[in-house]
């Protein structure tokens, strides 16, 4: 019977095949169930024929350089991220494992972010350039990557006093933690590990391998303030020395 029913996109073309399919459908012919008000599947589909026939351009058909109007809803993202965290939490043992997994998920985004961002900023330029020095790269992450991903720049960038290979990017109100309240028994957890993964991928993509972690550093006025800690690999620092 499934084969005799027209494809929903085709059914709007021909009314005769439409009605014959309805004749065969179990809800219309069976008297065993009293479903007088239940609308038939076909009549529901045919009322939607306008949107079905006119699909907007898909995300793959839009120009890559056009970022205006391509923003996504923060609410929709918050729900998605919430489900991601819940899904991940069910499949891990302990906080470290959870942070590592979120980091991995963020890494997959960061790989794409760095490619898209460089394409957007350098592809139209006559003299495209690639950043090779550490500080400009960190500044680029602080402002451009943050703007591309979260719609605003990060709040501060700091160099560790104790360790020469450590840098910190600080966000006072990270978008991804805006709706998250971490329970007390998980107080060590920072969901910004996701962001750390993005940063790690961007640094990797630009040739600055590093280990990036996220730490919650709340202040009285900024409850969800987060520090993204970047620990660069030795080779990066050695190369920086050579540039001087």
């Amino acid at each position: 019977m499934a084969y005799s029913q027209p494809h929903p996109r085709l059914s709007v073309l021909s009314n005769s095949s439409h009605s014959s399919a309805e004749h065969l459908s179990p809800t219309a012919s069976s008297t065993r169930f009293s479903l007088p008000t239940a609308p038939s599947i076909h009549s529901q589909l045919s009322t939607q024929k306008v949107p079905l026939n006119r699909p907007g351009p898909s995300i793959y058909d839009r120009p890559l350089n056009k970022s205006r109007g391509a923003e996504v809803s923060v609410s929709a993202f918050a729900f998605l991220l919430s489900e991601i965290v819940q899904y991940t939490q069910k499949r891990v043992n302990g906080i470290n494992d959870l942070e590592r997994r979120l980091n991995t998920l963020g890494y997959r985004i960061g790989v794409r972010v760095v490619e898209l961002m460089l394409w957007r900023s350098e592809s139209s330029s006559k003299t495209p350039k690639r950043e090779v020095r550490l500080l400009p790269v960190l500044m680029m992450i602080h402002s451009q990557v943050w703007k591309a991903v979260f719609g605003k720049a990060a709040d501060a960038i700091e160099k560790s006093v104790e360790n020469a290979d450590e840098y910190m990017i600080i966000d006072n109100d990270p978008v991804i933690e805006r709706h998250i309240s971490v329970p007390r028994d998980l107080s060590q957890l920072s969901c910004s590990s996701f962001t750390a993964g993005i940063v790690e991928a961007v640094l990797d993509g630009l040739g600055f391998p590093a280990r990036v972690t996220a730490h919650s550093t709340p202040l009285a006025q900024f409850r969800s303030r987060t520090t993204i800690l970047i620990k660069l690999e030795k080779s990066v620092l050695e190369r920086e020395e050579l540039f001087k």
Partner: protein, 134 residues
């Protein structure tokens, strides 16, 4: 003009959030609060069927001599109940804003289980900001 307390009742009639803001009503134990919330849930279900004019959303305001409770029913069956003094006029608006805070700080929080008691610092902060310290 006083706001005494806030209840949030899940769709099964369980009290998932309870907070007092001002003195003025008898202080109840948490068990008594649970029983009252369950009772209100039942009363609300009955009032929804009493209307002579077809389907009804049920009781919206219940008034006593010293206080009134304003009930806000969401599309998913969760009830927000605000206990206020009789002359409080903005209870409905406050409930709308609390619902908004609930949608943001509770439903988008990955560490909240739907229909379970709400333990979210973010929600507490938002409610405090809406109602005042109390």
């Amino acid at each position: 003009m006083a706001i005494f307390g806030l209840w949030i009742i899940n769709k099964a009639g369980g009290l998932v959030y309870q907070r007092n803001f001002a003195e003025g009503l008898a202080q109840l134990t948490s068990n008594e609060n649970l029983v009252l919330a369950g009772t209100l849930h039942g009363i609300h279900a009955i009032t929804a069927r009493l209307s002579p004019m077809g389907p009804s959303s049920g009781a919206q305001v219940i008034e006593g001599e010293t206080f009134k409770m304003t009930i806000f029913l969401t599309a998913t069956g969760t009830k927000f109940v605000l206990l206020t003094s009789l002359n409080e006029t903005i209870a409905e608006i406050l409930l709308q804003r609390i619902y908004e805070a609930y949608a943001d700080a509770v439903m988008k929080n990955p560490f909240h289980t739907p229909e379970m008691p709400i333990r979210s610092d973010g929600f507490d902060t938002r409610v405090t900001a809406i109602i005042g310290t109390g």
